[in-house]
Amino acid sequence: MNDTVLVLSVVSAIVAGTPILFAALGEILTERSGVMNLGVEGMMLIGGVTGFWAGVQTGNLWLALLAGGLAGAALSGIHALLAISLRVNQIVSGLALVIVGGGLSAFWGSSGDDPLIQSFNGVRVEPLLPEALRDLPAVGPIVFGHDPVVYVSWLIVAAAAYFLYRTTPGLSLRAVGEDPAAADAAGLSVTGIRYLFTLVGGFGAGVGGVYLALVVLGTWQTGMTAGAGWIAVALVILAGWRPWLALAASYVFGALRTLGFTLQIAGVEVPSDFLNMIPFVVTFLVVIVVSANPERARRVGAPASLGEPYSREAR
């Protein structure tokens, strides 16, 4: 029962979806403040290489996640400076982050006497819960069999949803994203809140990159994200900027990314290049479908000031 194709594919979908989930959650919080950061791919890469390096140095998963998160946040700080303070076009600034993050991580990962590429990380990732629970049929591996980071991600989804809809700071965040002028008039620091949540978003992407390198792939590869960061950006739109929907959507995309593995054990032959295409084709189609229905598009609408810099003088 526990090694049926279905159970195995659900488990691998959750593992493969977790990096996207961290990145998408971070981006949801950033975009809720009105800042669009397209640099997720770059932040995941810089977080991944930093976390992988920290993992090799310390052998400690949590230190690696922290280091990668901080590296992602540092890169997002550049976006904050450009997009919030210098009011540079946010699409241009986000793309610059992708290229800088990709270049810096490729350079760091492949240079030096002891390059990180393909090296052994030595970080042990163990399941959290006791064996008795993990051996239960079906729910054992799917619900109880994961490493601690997956459970942390569930807690963060719940915390993010509670924060956004049930707390005053969460309301402030949404207010800044919807109507920065009104939020400013109400005494909120638009700049401060936008900076903070841009950094939070970078931290999330960085953590996602570390999980991808250390747990999903088990090694550092140049350009290892292969579009995962962009999928995360798209997923924010598909999830309508809502944390719980992001959780569900991340696992669906995890399932699409591991579809080849699933079909292989099910004995179905599909060329791997077409399997690799599937998440991108699905994202392409779903983004169009979501936008094609104006009623739905209005209901799940983006934060009203998304992508627009705020300047008190320019009003």
Binding site: L82, F107, S111, V281, I288
Partner: protein, 363 residues
């Protein structure tokens, strides 16, 4: 007295400012790159001298730089024309692949005895059409549903990449050489190869330069260009003035895709002589975005900037002689992009020095 720098917006800056800010941004990126090179344990002076030698010193390095600059001019123009209307085509990468696939396909399918001028014309047109159609997949939903084109064009890059890999590595397709031991594409006939100017430099460069001139003129001197610029500055006002914004989205994205597709066709016809996915997928599309940003979306500015970035790319492998990995060139491109983006602030705003602020401030 508090020393506080004020900021105020300015109208179109004077020419020295418009040229000076990008140059200053490039110098700042070079300085930041020097810091990275120092941290990596190499000498920045030696590294930059190696780059200059490898890219500009002599006929052979110079032609190599221009060969790399040729596709960058075209992808730079592709980004510039779309971005000028604030349509964010991030898909030049995939449009270029589709152009390369179409060009290689027709070069192999047509009789090898086809007269060269006709063959070359067909190949370039095929590249343009394939790129335009691939961009069209994102342009139609953008025009009719206002679908976010950043996401759609980007997703299509990956689809095109895997499709191209499938044709050579994943199957024995029409493009693949069935005799070769390792997966590789069939060689295109001599009649489909662009003639050579000098060393490896081919006439594709002239195609790219002509495209830059025509685009520059179209943006300045035609109604089409005027409407494009107006829509970019204010879509609402243009709609009120009776312009068809969705029609313009279609034509601009198709043109942008066509330019990227031609770049792919030229790479196949002038450089690779076969469909070689590994050699084509070298981020030419993304680098084109950097080119367009540094050139401030001016089609004539795209040309020198593409040569500059072509020089950076050309010198990548030579940097290993001074102990730097070739990946440093991507980092340098990223730094250039970042500092140029920051420079936009100084073009849009003027710094007000504290003298005026102090006059109204406290004693």
């Amino acid at each position: 007295m508090t020393l506080r720098l004020g900021v105020e917006p300015r109208a179109r800056p004077a020419l020295p400012v418009r040229l000076g800010v990008p140059v200053a941004s490039l110098l700042a990126a070079g300085l930041a790159g020097a810091v990275v090179i120092l941290v990596a344990g190499a000498s920045p002076v030696e590294a930059y001298r190696t780059m200059l030698d490898a890219s500009l010193n002599g006929v052979r390095p110079l032609t190599r730089t221009l060969v790399l600059a040729t596709p960058l001019i075209l992808t730079g123009l592709a980004a510039a024309v779309a971005f000028r209307m604030k349509v964010w085509n991030i898909g030049a990468e995939g449009q270029l692949y589709m152009g390369a696939i179409a060009a290689a396909g027709l070069a192999l399918a047509l009789p090898s005895g086809t007269p060269k001028p006709l063959m070359l014309l067909v190949i370039l047109v095929a590249g343009a059409v394939a790129g335009a159609l691939w961009a069209g997949l994102a342009a139609l939903p953008k025009a009719y549903f206002n679908t976010n084109e950043v996401i759609t064009t980007l997703m299509l890059n990956f689809v095109a990449l895997y499709f191209m890999n499938y044709l050579i590595f994943g199957s024995v397709s029409f493009w693949r050489d069935p005799e070769a031991m390792f997966p590789q594409g069939k060689l295109i006939p001599a009649s489909a190869q662009l003639p050579i100017i000098s060393h490896r430099l081919h006439y594709g460069l002239l195609v790219a330069l002509a495209a830059a001139l025509v685009l520059w003129w179209s943006l300045r001197g035609t109604t089409w260009g005027f409407e494009l610029r107006t829509i970019g500055d204010s879509p609402a006002a243009s709609r009120y003035a009776g312009m068809s914004v969705s029609g313009k989205v279609l034509s601009v994205l198709a043109l942008s895709g066509a330019l990227a597709g031609v770049a792919g066709a030229i790479e196949v016809s002038g450089v690779l002589k076969t469909l070689d996915p590994r050699a084509i997928a070298t981020e030419l599309g993304f680098t084109g975005i950097v080119v367009a940003a540094v050139a401030r979306l001016n089609p004539l500015g795209v040309v020198p900037v593409a040569v500059l970035l072509g020089a950076v790319v050309a010198s990548g492998t030579n940097l290993q002689t001074v102990g730097l990995e070739a990946e440093i060139v991507f980092l340098l491109q990223g730094l250039i992009f970042l500092f140029v983006a920051a420079g936009e602030f100084f073009l849009a705003n003027r710094l007000v020095f504290p003298r005026t602020a102090a006059a109204v401030g406290s004693p």
